[in-house]
Subunit: 397 residues, 4 copies
């Protein structure tokens, strides 16, 4: 059953001759899932055309879920035209251009592949899959067709990360030698924090690892352009049981923290830590990259600022610079507000969608895509295995 | 002439029985002006219902300007239903509930008053007026009727400012004694920066003073709850001539920087500086308030973080805390993203609009309103006069 | 084989042929006063030859006070050879080369002048004098003779301040336009903090002003090379009575906080605040200087770090740099520890003494000297008068 | 009246009746080695009695080296009474109480043991030994006698580290769960940096590892009170050849960077990195410890500041506090300057010596001692072996 809302005279349709010249083809998106990530994705859909000049007008067309009442509430809240509980029917529609997979982790694979088979472009929430095998199957399927695929590793497009990648790519810090990356949160620091599906291996695959280290791995690949070659690691679950909503004690079978070391394709070394038990760290995703000629520090909580050191200029005037990245020459800055007016978490989704939509015309490959997802999954799997088996594990190439 | 776009089946109208139960009355906004501030205001109008549970559904109904083509482009870009170049006609409409004044400074007064006389609620961009006399006339007019009025002093509702105000109001830092406030930018540091209307007294009244010190004054009143009693100051125009777009040298008759000292109603002292010639400072709006029992530091460029010192706790463990303000217990945090996921400049407008809309029902007075605008204008006038006359000037009460 | 060197009166005397070549003339210092500042001065005397290659060997010869037992304890503690309560006799001695005035403020003038008349070099603790008149008399007396005089405005020679001055002098930030300087402490924030001579105008002349603003004024002159032309200000005593050691309530007749604005010789503007009632600020002496081409920020509590902004380099890579100033090319760094090993408060006295001693040979003029003290006093007097009379006051040239 | 005290061999000897009461026994120190570390050690010897009230008067008695001319120059520079090239003779003297071993790494063991056999107290520069076997032999020898032994792991007694240890020991952050520790320098980042003995395994045992990770290991044991149980790691030499002073290319057979993971006695996890090739990091020794109830961050370059988070106080007022550690209630603060006046690198040696000297009377055990050195060496060895063999290695208990 579908709450079908025939899209009315959208503003461009009614705008008359002047607007006609500007009239763009629509890009209808069906979003599957409508929890937290759906909130961020749908925001990007509503906002992107107001701030980016794109070849399409993005339309949040239909939101798909399981429970009609909740889907309908999501439709209202998130600004979709229609709500549906029939995914098959939605995928069968000719007017749906893109499927956005915003469901829990264990359905990313099946839904993405179903959408690809239905000849839709696909944007998938991270992690791409529950296993490397599944991820590879997804990437293989995507490679067969001409549909574009993307992963919502949105932090890549935070202001400072985009700038950092540009700088490293143009050689500002030289060849990369060491990476130190941590993603620290504290919402499970207290033994009183409740049990949830996020504490269950069957649903999540892992704990802090898949949730947080996945970001570090993707960002490190993005920033440095390097591949992980081998890893070793250790993990711990500090609180072994937690109470669920009903007050029942439930076992926790995923990691609270997982640390690993890595060697990269060019011989560089890195250390990584994902933890949910670091008091005071709310969303402390910080990556420091040292190269031959300089260093950069990126920090999600201060995503508008980048710290950079190089040996340029007078010898007595060197130091880490704090660059306010929402300034004229910086990536995406011109699309938003005047110099020095910061943006936030949700904007990274808008940037991701804008770039994805811009690439739907032409042959450019969007990143991060399913191949990137495979690469991340390979490192996640290898480092989890390394932690479990207490030995170095090669990352499959 | 109006490009009237009959609003089509809005989503709620077509949502059927389930949605009907949730159906809210619309609140139609006419926005006058569509330059930079219009961009921020309209964003708030589009976003507010997606993140706040309000008694009305806000509708960006009509955008009003002078040049039809540009107004129409703004309508498209900002997501209004209609575009118009006939303000009188728009004000005459019964279906317009709120007029948002987003025009250049010199028309804030006339348009706001015209809107009030047309029985509309009014949200006015700051500064309220070009002179204290005009500001008072506006406030007097507002006081006569029952229409609600507000000023877009949006920084009040940045995460850290809202928290700071809550803390000071509940006594965390005790009675306020000293305030140090600076708003530093650098876009006029270079003598090569071009001339614009912002360098002309006839249009702006003043330079950095009205633009930047207005924010400091409003924020100081908001944070401390104190009134300015008397001021002295000094100003300077470091670059006396600049070239306009045509390469013609034009005189600059407004201040590049204006510094002033103030004495407050409770005997506290403060220093203030607005400047556009501080290299490296993009949008450095920083206010430090010291009280009897503690201190707070607010900084727009890190608006998600508040620094606070109190004498609480173990004597050897005291220090300025950096509070990540997008966390569970903080103002507005629950409306956005998970803990530690930051928001940006535009959200302060969403907060402002959300609070204004929430207050349209009931008798609560919204702040900042025209009375607050009068108070800010009184301090601006007094400090400009103080700088011009080189003496202490009482701020009219 | 042992080179056994029985410790003689001074190590160099017994060093034999090899040492003889290195043998330096001694420079005997008599230090008058032995409270807190004496502790810092004497440390500099003991340390300076171990870290600086100077034309003299500095000898902490005699410490002079009023109470024999306490002077003797100071001699022991501070490492002087002799203790004395007879200043006249000490000044009459031929073997005393330098008199260091480390007494309370009200005797700086008389003792310095007495020492000059006795043909001694003089290093005087700041403030130079209790009044501008006295300061000028001191400077005039110093100018008549050939004895070198210096003021212990030691912060000038903190690592970051020395570097900042070098940078500004060589034009890194261009012509100075604005200065914002605060010296914030909190030891009088509590009304329970006890009364002391520091709360008495008769002894100190003023409160936070003479104590803290004196530093800001000297540092601003040092960093910028500019002179203060006129000032206006305001001051407040928030706690009007405090209890002395005996529990007796005593009036406080000096300022807790004094803020002033200044105009400089080149048209630049500045704001200044000295306060002892800013909770959480222990020794927060921070000066930000903005020029045409850049800005610097100096902060005593992080005196090993300088923040600098310039427009050099790639446009997208600009930001305030944090320079670790104890590194190869920085002032004084080579005299201490390896790169990145910080120094502290007391080292600024060692640097001051080292430079003073180095200049005793030759005709170079040491700064800060009594003329600098006069300049500081002139600004202190003018700003205190401005605060008292509530008007702008010219700083006598 | 003058208390004229002709300077005698030691000031206390001539101080007369009053001083006699204060007269303390001397503690004569023989320092072996006089390069960089000798500079820091001797400074501590000269300074310690001026700032700490100790049961002994510390006398820098004799400095011992190999080259007479250079030893003599060191004697002069560092303030020793005597210079010697005959270690045996010095150790045979009855008047030598303490032997300070400040030689290159490969002689720490032999000289320390020789000194112990000569019945001297021993302070040894870190690292304790070249191998775990040697370290254990040293500790065993020390355990046999009643002489006190200490290691110059001076960072333990930096202001913030001392405070951090106090806080963790009293339970402020609860049971420790994760540690992230890095010691980053950049003096070998450039391939042009010259070859030295520090690049030779035969002399140093390892590169960044023994030099920098040794500090991290000691500090982690000190701060947390935990023991390392097992480790795995990876290392890299990025520049394989460097030119020596004569321009000859020499192989580099030690690590530029070594990273390792560790599991601790209580199940906690940690990551560690020592590198000399991190551009912009001069002496960036930073350790973050997360416990059940809070976190602390210590940073050598800002050793006067400690960052601490706990869940105490109002829920909306929590954040990492930056504690200025040179304040009334903090360790060692009262021995130096007023609140907020910072100290530096060399003071950590003064603190170490002060505590060592204070413990020479009584039965208290000084830390860090040779047992601590053994523990550090065990972790260094294990992590080097882990990096070489690419597997987890147990740390011998």
């Amino acid at each position: 059953m579908v709450t079908s809302l025939p899209r009315s005279k959208t503003k461009k349709q009614a705008a008359g001759p002047a607007a006609a010249a500007r009239k763009k083809p629509t890009l209808n998106i069906a979003m599957v899932g409508h929890a937290f990530m759906g909130r961020a994705h749908s925001n990007a859909m509503r906002q992107v055309n107001h701030f980016f000049d794109l070849p399409f007008e993005v339309v949040p067309k239909v939101v798909v879920g399981r429970n009609l009442e909740r889907v309908e509430a999501a439709r209202e809240q998130f600004g979709f035209e229609e709500a549906s509980v029939d995914l098959d029917a939605v995928l069968a529609r000719q007017d749906i251009d893109v499927v956005d997979v915003a469901t829990p982790n264990d359905t990313h694979g099946p839904i993405s592949m179903q959408a690809l088979r239905a000849d839709k472009h696909v944007m998938c929430e991270k992690p791409l899959a529950m296993s490397l095998k599944e991820a590879k199957a997804m990437a293989a399927l995507a490679a067969k067709g001409d549909r574009k695929v993307g992963l919502w590793h949105n932090y890549r497009r935070s202001p400072a990360a985009s700038l950092a990648q540009r700088m490293i790519a143009r050689g500002d810090i030289g060849k990369v030698r060491t990476v130190r990356a941590v993603y620290l949160q504290d919402w499970l620091a207290s033994a009183d924090a409740g049990w949830s599906w996020r504490n269950t291996k069957a649903v999540c695959g892992s704990g802090a690892h898949g949730d947080l280290n996945a970001h570090l791995i993707d960002m490190t690949r993005f920033l440095t352009g390097l591949e992980f070659v081998e890893v070793c690691g250790a993990m711990e679950t500090f609180t072994k049981k937690r109470k669920d909503g009903a007050g029942k004690s439930r076992p926790v079978d995923v990691d609270d923290a997982l640390l690993f070391l890595a060697r990269f394709s060019n011989g560089a070394l890195g250390s990584f830590e994902g933890t949910r038990v670091a008091p005071g760290r709310k969303n402390h995703n910080r990556i420091e990259v040292s190269g031959e000629k300089g260093s950069i520090v990126w920090n999600l909580e201060r995503m508008n600022e980048l710290e950079v050191f190089t040996y340029e200029g007078a010898e007595d005037a060197r130091g880490f610079r704090t660059i306010m990245c929402m300034d004229g020459p910086h990536p995406y800055a011109a699309n938003w507000w005047p110099d020095g007016h910061i943006i936030g978490y949700e904007h990274t989704f808008v940037h991701t969608l804008a770039d994805f939509v811009a690439m739907l015309k032409g042959k450019k490959v969007f990143h991060p895509n399913f191949d990137d997802g495979v690469a991340v999954q390979a490192v996640l799997d290898a480092s989890l295995k390394a932690a479990e088996t207490r030995r170095w594990v090669k990352v499959p190439g």
